[in-house]
Structures are given as C-alpha cells and as structure tokens.
Symmetry: C2
Subunit: 200 residues, 2 copies
DNA sequence: TGTTTGTCGAGACTGTTAGTCTTGTCAAGT
DNA sequence: ACTTGACAAGACTAACAGTCTCGACAAACA
C-alpha cells in the first residue's frame, strides 16, 4: 500500500459528469410499462433501453442484470405494501391480510407485470433469489400475524404456522399464475375461516 | 378435387425408408437422463440429440418443439399414475391421493426432471399448454374423489370443490418448486383432515 | 478558459440456444 | 436398378443477455 491508494473511510472527491437521475427513472418507467403490457412474452433489455431512450450500457451501469431491473421496477410500486393488520381478532386479521394480498397483486397493471416477473424468475436464478428476499418479508409478516393469534389462544399450540403460510401463498401463486380461477375477497374470507378452524 | 388427390379413408402405400424406432427411444432416454441430471439448467435440444447420437432434424421430425420432447420423456414415467383410491372413506381416500402425489413427484430421479420441466413451461407457452392438459387429468381425478365424498355426505353440499383441489395442488407446486419445506406423508395427512373438517 | 474525469447514447460484438435448411447416405419397397 | 423418404452431421437464421468501444458531453478544478 502506498500514499496513492484509496484510504478506507476516506473518499476521493467526486469528479466527472454526474449520473443522470432522469435516465434512471426513464429506465424504471420503461421497464414497468413493458412489463405491464407484456402478454407473457419476455421483456428484453434492448426494448427497455430503446423505450427509455437510453444506451444499453447505461442500464447495466445501474443494475447488474435484467432481472434486477425488472424487480426494481415493480418494487417501487409494491413498497406501498400494506402493514399487517392487528385488531386482536385472528380471523379478521388473516382475512384482511389475504384479501389485501389478492387485491394488491391484481390492482391496476400490476398483475401482468408480476406474472411476467415470476415467469422470468423461473429461468433466471439470479432473479429468483432477488424475488425470494422480496417475498420473504411478506411471508414473515403473515407468520407473525399468526404467532400473535396463537399467543392469544386463537390457534392450537402445536399448529404448523409454516404450513398455513404456505397454504395461503401456495393457493395465491397457483391461481395467480395459472389464472384458471379467481382470487376474490370471498375466497380470502373462506380461506381465513377454514385455515383457522382446522388448526384451532 | 381430381383423381390424383389423396382420398379420405384411403392411404397411399408406404414407400421409402421406415422410421427408426431405436432413434425415437434413444431421444426419449437422452431427454429423460438430461432432465434428471439437470441442476435447474435448461436442457438443450443439441445436448439431447448429441447424447442420443441422433441428428437434430430427427428430433424435430418426431416432435414439434423442445417442450414436447421433454414432456413426452416424463409422461412415459408418469403414466403409471396411481388410480384414485375409492374406499368409501373420504378422509382416507384424500390422504392417500395427496400422499401418492407427493411421493410420485419426489421418487427417484423424477423430482429434478419435473422441476426443470415446470421451469421451462414458465417461459414456453406451447409447453405450458401441453403440461396443462397433462395435469388436468390428475385434477379431475381429485375432483371426482371429492364429488363421491360429497354424495356420501362427508362434505357440505355447498363446499367449493375447485378451491379444495387448488389448495392441494397450490401447496404441492409451491413447496415442490421452491423446495423450502418438505412434502411428507404427515403433511398429506394433516392436509386431508383440515381440508375436510373446514368444509364439512 | 481549458483539462481531467466519468457518464451519456449508439450500436457493434460475443456467446448461447431454438428451430430451419442443406447435403450426402442409406434402407425399404417397386 | 430406381424411387422414396428417413437418417446423421452440421451450416444457417433469429433472438437475446451481457460486454466492449466510441465520440459527445457535463461537472469539477486549475
């Protein structure tokens, strides 16, 4: 190490042209629009760059892979993820959580975007990992909701909380991706009731 | 139409070299082996043809797409799909059906092959459609099992059978594809019980 | 004002893969 | 022998992810 090496904790003063925030946003917007308009066809980086009026290299300067861009584009929107409800009534909280999940995924143009993202994740291990950390927080929120209910005695001591969580998200993704049957508030209501009564 | 057109119901006598059944089987074997050995990496047609010692065109002479080959390779094995049990006890029949499904998907080298196939189907609409007709027969078998139980009064008249079916397959695919939690006989047992008691 | 540094848009380039096309060979029937 | 069509080999096209290069430009600093 000599005097010209960068020092830990110190940062060389910035020089050169600054990053263009407008380009960043244009890329995200283009990705989201293409994702939403996609009929299941994969969204390409070329298309995103062209739509955003940006060079491909600019995309790769900000994100490490196509999947990262797509996830980021959708994450903006999902950051408004509702906090888990906690009214003190497990069945009502669970019902609200499930209904909110169903609704959030299907509201506006989110559905085709999320579907396309999931399909891409099936063949892109990098994206799959990113997506898993993203969905993990919702799984945790649901699990904590159930834990609170169990502590209040609304669920059996030995109830398999992970199984209940997987039953919710299993049904959700199965119907969401295949699209052969609806995900309505009625279904959410029914699900909340049966999942609790079967494990109380 | 004139006299040289092929007549419906008549077939011009076959001429030329006959199809090589050995090549057909070699392709299927190669596809199944590569599918089973795959660590999630997509299986390529070139690899199948090379492994089978066959020209690529020979593959495409017999199957319309890569997906069709892969599905066919796996379908051979799954044809041994167990018939739906019918003992007269809904809970026992349902438990057996679910446990058989879990077990069949995980026995031997089937699991990685089926996982790879499902991942490919996520981005290949042609394969997705083929796979859907394939899985539809199992869904129907399960639905009929439930219908018989309902006729015996073991399920409420207004029980949502499609929802129960989707809950079974939703959980199955969710855990099977993500692999974060097991699909054991215990789970099958628990599932059979709660799905019935919640809808009885 | 001019120099340095690093981003910008544009697009050429590489590597991979599905699916098609070509070629010369070989087997089954006439 | 001759015709027909399957065969193995592999060249070819079209997409696409990701890298590399280039000349232009913008921000700091001298």
């Amino acid at each position: 190490m000599n005097a010209t090496d960068p020092q830990p904790g110190t940062t060389r003063p910035h020089t050169g042209r600054r990053r263009n925030e407008a380009a960043h946003q244009a890329i995200l917007d283009a990705a989201l629009r293409l994702l939403a308009e996609s009929d299941g066809t994969p969204v390409t980086i070329d298309a995103i760059a062209r739509t955003a009026g940006v060079g491909k290299q600019t995309v790769y300067r900000w994100w490490p892979s196509k999947g990262a861009v797509l996830l980021d584009a959708l994450a903006d929107r999902a950051d408004q993820a509702a906090p888990a409800p906690s009214t003190g009534d497990l069945r009502a909280d669970l019902r609200t959580f499930i209904a909110t999940t169903f609704d959030g995924a299907q509201r506006g143009t989110t559905a085709p975007a999320l579907r396309t993202l999931a399909r891409e994740a099936a063949r892109d291990p990098h994206l799959a990992e990113l997506m898993q950390t993203f969905t993990a927080s919702r799984r945790t929120a649901l699990r904590e909701l159930l834990t609170r209910g169990r502590e209040r005695g609304e669920l059996a001591e030995d109830a398999d909380l992970d199984l209940i969580v997987d039953q919710v998200y299993g049904l959700f993704w199965y119907r969401f991706l295949l699209g052969h049957a609806p995900l309505t508030a009625d279904i959410a209501d029914h699900l909340a009731t049966t999942l609790i009564t079967g494990n109380a």
